[in-house]
Amino acid sequence: MTAPTPPTTRGALERREARLAWGLLLPTIAIVSLVIILPLLSIFWISFKPVGLADLRPVAPVLRESLRQRGGVDVIEYRVRNSSQQKAITGLGFSDEIPDGVTFTELPEICSLDGSNLTCIYGDVEGGFNERLRLPVTLDGDPDALEEIVEGSEPRGFGSGDNILTNSEFTLKNFTRIFDGAEFWAVLWATIFYTVVGTVGALVVGLFAAMLLNKEFKGKGVLRGLYLFPYVSPIIAVAFTWVALMDPFSGSLNALLIQMGVTDSPINFFGQRPLALIMVTVFEIWRYFPLSFLFILARMQSIDTDMYEAADMDGASPFQKFWYLSLPMLLGILSVLFLLRFIWTFNKFDDIFLLTGGNAGTRTLTVNVYEQAFAISNIGAGAAVAVVIFATLLLFSVFFFKYISQEEGL
């Protein structure tokens, strides 16, 4: 008899468990790759394509058919048009069902009749192609009824346009365009300022708020709920409220400042450099301090009070207790929050878009995606900015995982 050894292959039970796990995960993996991974890959593809917003409509023939009298002769008239003014169509043509009772007296060269099936082929045409094709016919029967039948049968167009998204034309223009000159540095500066100041500001303000509420008193629950309002309410509501509040003509804040004698003329908070960038950053701090507040408060309440009692015995003053006891205990959660918020502030789009639309020096990278793709209608350049964002994020996340894996919890 040999001595018993632990099995070296995977057991049936283990295999079954793994199979179940993959089965449970499969729907998620499928839908996530369809809607996230696929778009991510396509954004790389598009960023090397010279594609504009107008190119999204596919190039195709547009057809209209009518039966009418022209100079005493009945004709079927086809209007054939290229939907695009610029792009060519290869193999343009159409085919149509001709009902009984309609016979062609003569057919041009490009057309052929096969039974009741009329086919006309133009071949390759340029952009902006627009032609009328008149085919004289003799009618056998009630003209009005025949007209209805003729015009009721839709001609089928064929011919394929060159689709810019799938052809083999590539360009580096998108990238040279977005990295070009002063604009890129302005965008980068706005992004860095917004991200760094916004993140640090929200953390510091959240820390203060947490310290205020880190004691027991009546109405604490109410205040805690209240301080979460900015984060919970829809971005669209609070952003528009800020815009209304700071409006230079009818805004309450300006009226208040003028009445108090702080300023003589209204301040255009969201319309002038560099104030606009500062204001959107202030908005970011205002909206997201509740988040750090919530995390920091939770951590504070889990700190053991024995420590503070010992410090009291040793005669530590309140500031000393904060600096030497509380802050070191909070350092872990603060750094995790910093990393997370940094990435999310970097990703932020809605806030700036709603407040200033990216004007007055507030165009960050994310706003630039929208600006390039939809305002300037250059999808390719927008995709190129998106690629830059994604690359930056990958860089962050390497750092993030290196650090976060040491921190428990998140």
Partner: protein, 404 residues
Amino acid sequence: MSLLRQGVFTAGLIGLFWAFVIAITVAVTLSFASGLGFRPGSFGCLFLGIGGGLAALFVRDRKLLIGGFALLSVAFLFTPLSALQFGEDVPFLWQLIGVLAFAVFTIWPLERMLVEAHPGAMNRHAFEDAVIRFLTGFGYIVFTAIVLIPFYVMVMTSFKSQQALLKNPLDFSIDLSRGMDLFRSYIELFGQFGFGGYLWTSFYVSVLTVLITLAFSVPGAYAVARLRFKGRAAFSRSILLIYMVPMIVLALPIYIAFSMTGLRNTVPGLILIYPVTTIPVALYMLQGYFRGLPVEVEEAGLMDGLSRLQVILKITLPLSLPAMVSVSLYVFMIAWNEFLLAFMLLDDPSKFTLTRGVAMLNSSEIPRQHLMAGAVIATLPIMALFLGLERFMTKGLTAGSVKG
């Protein structure tokens, strides 16, 4: 440093700062409440503040202190040195209310702040105690103000008329004699602008998003939390990674794909895309919770002959009901508040969600109070949900708010 820690000096300085804080607070509050002109008076604050600080240090009888300070403040009202200055048309009653509010809210907290302070050189403890009490009071006022003012303005503006808004942007008083006319913006939004429909669209889109998200993320989270398989660690990392991808990067290809397949400008297209943005968050939150459940209960179930799926349905899910509520609320909130995709994908006013509908109101042709009324309509349901289920909501926020 030693000068700063002299009781007299500390008390005077704190009194000065506090008087300014209260004067500004009272002036802003009364301006917003009445629309009349109030502003803090520098010299009055200077004298009354320093005086109040010193008085609080020396006079330990609370009634005498508050009464005396109030009398003095009212007396100052008749000199140019009043702590509050008034516009020309402010009635005397309002002036009196303002000054009395200033007096009480200045001296009463000052007395509390300086409770451990004393004349002469103070030790570090007494000094810092006074400073911290001052900062605490200051903090409450500032935080409450910055949070409340925008919401106050939002609600009150929605009740105003265009003329009243342009005449005095500061006047937020409500003219009750207008009766139902007060709600005109709301009536017009629901009548002419079809906000009832938007409300309904937003509601069912959000609910469907929650249901679909749960259907996908519960099995996934269970697998990641409980089952052993190759690539588990890599998978749970890639979840985090995926939900760090910003929406705007995905929105562009989604826009293109939806344009080409005809899903753009349809509500089903929106319902297709929303859950995908929330599944990673939900999966991440739920797997954290599943891990915290005692594994023994499930093993006992397995021993008694239940299959894995039965274990999930009969043991794990009932145990994790609170977490499911939190996750559902959080996902509901994300879907309800979502703006970017709705903005890019929907053009047809009959298919708008609420956020898209409010965005439509932001035009120079539509009066401001309509926009604010729209904002209120979008905010109210989520606020009601939040206040009613705050316990679950806060938990959801802390567990999931890596995203935001």
